[in-house]
Point group: C2
Chain length 221, copies 2
C-alpha cells in the first residue's frame, strides 16, 4: 500500500513582498495547515509563470496552483473551497452556516479585495504620476467604505459568522494587504480581527513556511 | 401539504443600465432559470439598500440577496454556487470537473472582473478628469491582458471546461460588462462565447424578466 502523494502548490521563487506573506500562496498554505494536510511547494520564477507549461495549470499565468492526483486547480478561492469541502476545520457542517461562510469567501475576494488592490497598486505604481495626489484620497475612501461596513458587521464578534471559517481566512489575508498603509489601524476591531487570525497556530506555520522561502531555507515538507 | 416557498432575490428598483442586464441580479436570475427554479423578486431603491433592514441581509448594502426558508445569502457568486449545488444544470457531477468549474467561477469574479470594473468605472466617472487620457490606455491594457489570456484558453471550444457551467455563466456576465466599449469585439472567439451564453433559453428568460422591471411591467413569477 502506498500513501497518496500530498498536493503540490506553486509559489513565487522570489517573494515580491520580502516574506511578508501577502502573496496568494499564503492563503492556500494557511488553509492546508488548518486542515492538517501535508503539501509540497514548487517555486516558479516570474518568467516561468508566463510560459505555456505553467499556463496549462493557470490560464492567467499566476500563482498559486494546486495539483492533486489527476486534478489541477487555479484561483486561491477555488483551491481553498476544494480543501475546505474535503477536510474538517474550514467550513461549518450545518448547511445554512456553510453557505454563509462561502458567501464571506466571495465577499472577501469580490467585494473587499478589489478596492484594496486598486489602492495598493496606485501606491506602488502611480506615485510619480501627476494625478496621484488627487486620486489617492478617492481610492482611500473606497477602501474606507468597505472597512466601515465590515467593521459594522463584525461588531464585537471574534469571527464573521460563528466559528472561524474559510471566509475569515480569506478576509484576514485580504485585510493584511493594507500592510503599512495605516488604513486598517483606524478600525481597532478589524485590527484585532486580523491579529486573531495571525495568532492561529496554522497561520503561524504557514507564515514561517513562506518566510523560509524568502530566506532561502525552505522548510522540510 | 404546502409547497415550499420559492426563494426571494433582490434587484434594483430602477435599473442603472436601463435594462441591459448588467446588474448582478441578472446572474442569479439566469442561474435560477438554468436550474428550472421559480423565484420571486423584491425591488429595492438605492436609498433602501443602505438602510439597516437591507444591510442585515447584505452587509455592504448591495444587491442581489437571496432568501430561502431560514437562509439569507449575499454575493452573487455564493448565491449561484448555492443554487448550483442543489440543482442540476450548473455544475458537472464528476468531482474534478466540478472543482474546475468552480475555479472558473472564482476566475470570473476575482481575476477577470476587477480590471473590467476599474475600466468601466473610469469611463463612467473620470472622463472629466485631467488624467483620463493618460490613464485610460493603461486600464485598457489590463483588460486586454485578461481577455487575451481567456481567449487563448478558450481556443475553439464552446465553453471554458467541457459542458456549460456556472463558471461560464459568471464569465459571460462579466464580459458583458464591457458593453459598448468595443474591447470585446477584438476577440471574435470571446464575442461568440458571449453570444452563445446570451442565446441560451434560460438567459433569455432571465433577461426578459429584468427588462420588464425597467419597463415597469414586472413579469408574473
Amino acid at each position: 500500500m502506498t500513501l497518496p502523494k500530498p498536493p503540490v502548490i506553486t509559489a513565487f521563487e522570489r517573494s515580491p513582498d520580502r516574506g511578508r506573506g501577502l502573496a496568494r500562496d499564503m492563503r492556500v498554505r494557511w488553509a492546508l495547515e488548518e486542515a492538517g494536510q501535508a503539501y509540497e511547494v514548487r517555486l516558479v520564477s516570474f518568467a516561468a509563470m508566463k510560459e505555456p507549461a505553467h499556463r496549462a495549470l493557470h490560464p492567467f499565468g499566476q500563482i498559486p496552483t494546486y495539483e492533486e492526483g489527476g486534478l489541477a486547480l487555479f484561483e486561491s478561492g477555488a483551491i481553498i473551497l476544494h480543501i475546505a469541502e474535503r477536510h474538517q476545520g474550514l467550513l461549518p457542517s450545518d448547511a445554512n452556516a456553510r453557505a454563509r461562510a462561502i458567501a464571506w469567501m466571495f465577499a472577501a475576494l469580490n467585494t473587499v479585495e478589489p478596492p484594496i488592490i486598486e489602492y495598493s497598486m496606485a501606491r506602488l505604481f502611480e506615485q510619480d504620476k501627476p494625478w496621484y495626489a488627487d486620486r489617492l484620497p478617492v481610492l482611500e475612501s473606497h477602501v474606507h467604505a468597505r472597512l466601515g461596513e465590515l467593521s459594522s458587521r463584525l461588531g464585537d464578534a471574534n469571527w464573521l459568522d460563528g466559528a472561524f471559517s474559510a471566509g475569515d481566512l480569506l478576509m484576514v489575508t485580504v485585510l493584511r494587504r493594507l500592510g503599512s498603509s495605516g488604513l486598517l489601524e483606524k478600525y481597532p476591531d478589524l485590527s484585532a480581527y486580523v491579529a486573531r487570525g495571525e495568532a492561529r497556530p496554522a497561520y503561524q506555520r504557514a507564515f514561517a513556511a513562506q518566510l523560509a522561502v524568502f530566506n532561502g531555507k525552505p522548510l522540510a515538507g
